[in-house]
């Protein structure tokens, strides 16, 4: 089965039809998607700024990361779930959209940046938990994360202007 056939069968699915045939559904899913994105960026930014050396509401970076990460992950899961529903509504159009593809690549890059940080710099966090400014590796991870998530949001907004099917 080719990719185009898979995309077309998603497009022909009952869920896809349901979203397209109920004019209120798409904006509701989109709104939830935006709420989720603001929570992802809003919480990860607090951590990223702390990694850059901007103080947060507590001294220790370790506890800050531990207490904010569940919010970031929860919101990210909501963003992915709502994103999948939006994709389902117009699968071929999104799959052929350059900005959509680029957005997925940048999200992947943000994920890799986070994974690298967790298996390297974060392993040694006890040594720099309350040290200001944090080590260079932490600052690099922080600024990379910020830039990538800004890019995700910017590219995401462009999808609305470049998608072939407009509501």
């Amino acid at each position: 089965m080719s990719l185009q056939t898979i995309l077309q069968s998603i497009q022909n699915s009952g869920l896809s039809l349901w979203i397209r045939q109920n004019p209120a559904i798409f904006p509701i899913i989109e709104s939830l998607h935006v709420v989720a994105i603001t929570l992802v960026f809003g919480t990860i930014m607090i951590v990223d700024l702390r990694l850059l050396g901007f103080a947060s509401h507590r001294r220790g970076a370790n506890k800050l990361i531990a207490e904010l990460l569940p919010f970031t992950w929860g919101a990210f899961i909501l963003a992915v779930a709502t994103g999948c529903l939006l994709f389902t509504a117009n699968a071929p159009a999104y799959a052929n959209n350059t900005q959509f593809r680029l957005k997925l690549v940048v999200i992947l890059a943000a994920g890799i940046n986070m994974a690298v940080f967790h298996v390297t710099t974060h392993r040694r966090i006890a040594a720099w938990d309350t040290v200001m400014p944090p080590p260079t590796a932490a600052r690099v991870a922080g600024v990379t994360s910020l830039l990538l998530w800004v890019a995700v949001i910017y590219i995401g907004r462009w999808i609305g202007f470049t998608l072939d099917i407009l509501f």
Partner: protein, 161 residues
């Protein structure tokens, strides 16, 4: 001059035409608008969950508010500025739109609540936790979070109404 004729006049101004005709301006301004609401939501989340007593309870709430309230004000400034650019570009989309005015009313309420329930905490001593606050603090914290969520919904729905 009615708001409708004002909107029609605004639409015909050269600055509005320039914003509309320059391909990158509206998406870029909208992206900055979303990034700013994200900064605001992140700050509001931490502050209000602290005031509700379910987050960072080991940190004094005035200290938490002191950290995030300035970020909320900066975000609000950028939101109003970018929002203004979007209104100038497409006045018909907003000024005649009930969802837009609902959003503005909710933003106003949310910020009045922030002023009344968060700003006074800045005056309390650094170590104290402002425990003499009113019994309304917790419900208002939850209400504020609900308001910001509805504000985002309204913002997205402006495009559809």
């Amino acid at each position: 001059m009615s708001i409708q004729t004002f909107g029609q006049w605004l639409y015909t101004t050269p600055v509005a035409a320039t914003i509309r005709e320059t391909v990158w301006i509206i998406p870029t301004v909208q992206a900055v608008h979303i990034l700013s609401i994200a900064v605001l939501v992140g700050s509001a989340l931490v502050s209000n969950l602290r005031l509700a007593g379910v987050f960072a309870a080991d940190e004094a709430s005035p200290a938490v508010i002191r950290r995030y309230l300035p970020r909320m004000w900066s975000a609000l400034g950028i939101l109003l500025l970018t929002g203004l650019v979007l209104i100038v570009a497409e006045p018909g989309r907003t000024l005649n739109n009930a969802v837009f005015w609902t959003k503005m009313a909710l933003v106003l309420i949310a910020f009045v609540l922030t002023l009344v329930f968060q700003k006074p905490l800045l005056q309390s001593p650094p170590g104290g936790n402002g425990s003499d606050r009113s019994a309304m603090t917790k419900p208002v914290a939850w209400l504020s979070l609900a308001l910001w969520t509805v504000v985002i919904f309204c913002g997205r729905f402006i495009a559809y109404t």
